[in-house]
């Protein structure tokens, strides 16, 4: 199998890698670039644990080929905190105990950020629909929804 050479931007940094033609972006991130924030839950786009953004669009990195992101802008959970400064969503996930085992958390944070970027004042229903592509088997979702609501309020300065 011949390698595909890819030049891309991840969290603002120029990155180059060589991957197999059929290799999912998720595997490239985790196994070739050491960015293990995105998790593999199902590998078929059902659980959202591998959520990233590509050119600002929320996607499952397991359903994207590494080869496809040539020239694109990829955003991962590793780019969410600014140095030691956690994103308000990250802080609120901690203070609301919106996680237990933590496997789903990076995906929820990426999806929640994508939701708030588009809709700074979502209703509870909009939050639940917005996060329907992310599965969590620990929290029962309620604490996640509360954390997102608190963040939305905080970020609106309300």
């Amino acid at each position: 199998m011949s390698g595909v050479h890819v030049s891309t931007t991840i969290n603002g940094d120029a990155v180059e890698f060589v991957c197999n033609a059929d290799e999912p972006l998720l595997d490239v991130l985790r196994n070739r670039l050491g960015m293990t924030g995105a998790k593999e839950g199902c590998g078929t786009g059902d659980c959202g644990a591998c959520s990233v953004t590509i050119n600002g669009r929320l996607v499952c990195s397991c359903l994207v080929l590494g080869a496809e992101v040539n020239g694109a802008k990829v955003g991962t959970i590793e780019g969410m905190a600014k140095g030691d400064q956690l994103h308000p969503l990250q802080k609120n996930f901690i203070s609301h105990a919106a996680l237990q085992c933590g496997i789903c958390t990076p995906g929820f944070l990426i999806a929640a950020k994508a939701l708030l970027d588009k809709n700074p004042d979502p209703s509870e229903e909009e939050i639940r629909f917005g996060l329907a592509g992310n599965l969590c088997r620990c929290t029962g979702y309620d604490k996640i929804v509360r954390a997102v609501q608190a963040t939305a309020k905080e970020m609106r300065g309300a």
């Binding site: 595909v4 059929d22 078929t44 359903l63 994207v64 080929l65 080869a67 496809e68 994508a114 996060l131």
Partner: protein, 286 residues
Amino acid sequence: MRYEAPETLKSAVTLLAKEKGLAFVLAGGTDLLVKMKGGFLEPDLVVDIKRIKGVFDIAKSATGFRIGAAVPGVQLGENAALVKAWPGVVEGANLIGSKQVQGRCTMVGNLCNGSPAADGVPALIAANAKVVISGPKGKRTIPVEQVPVSPGRISLKKGEIIEAILLPKRPANSSDAYLRFIPRTEMDIAVVSAAVNLTLDGKGTVKDARVVLGAVAPTIIVVPAAAKALIGSKLDAAALEKLAAACAAACKPIDDKRGTIEFRTKVAGVLARRAAEIAYKRAGGK
């Protein structure tokens, strides 16, 4: 497997036409990559069409809308003019998968996946939408309903690519709606679905109608008798009753874990009636 991302339709067609092994087009990949991951498909060549000019464009012209093959669901919902003209088409496409899937999934991919339960397709057929196909012998344009042949099979020939979907220009007082039944509130496969596209006259009488059902036959079906039941009416109870009966009569569903024949046949009429009422209101009927 080889991955190619050509910059012109012509080179994409040539790559697909010349490939001796198994070749697939990649746009959103939300079906293709799942099948590859599950070992159901082992392509020799994947042709990514997203570098081809125009595939992400939604163009409005005097003749209607032209939607590029790689336009993802989320982009359809962001286009206010498209949502206004074809709310049913957009709501169908937007029901596919999660927000993550919406970031990638395309109507053309949904169509080419060939599922009779595809949420993105019934409203397109109800809209009299067409697809523009590029192939080794040039371009051709065919109605959307001529693409699916049977579950998982489509009429495209080797080397052919759907480059865009064409939605016709809207007459005044027209609108559409799409509804599906699923046992949950989101992210599921339609057990039954219905799309209705209506045009009213100035007084609210239905002038033109098209009724389409999904997941009740080997392919998505057009039900002319159901449309006939609506034409000339103001969606009174008798017309809606006739519509539901015509829909039930057209169903040839299977029994499976998601729904029985009896359930699908009954619910097809219920959904068609509700979709007709929504489309009627959207078209300005009272």
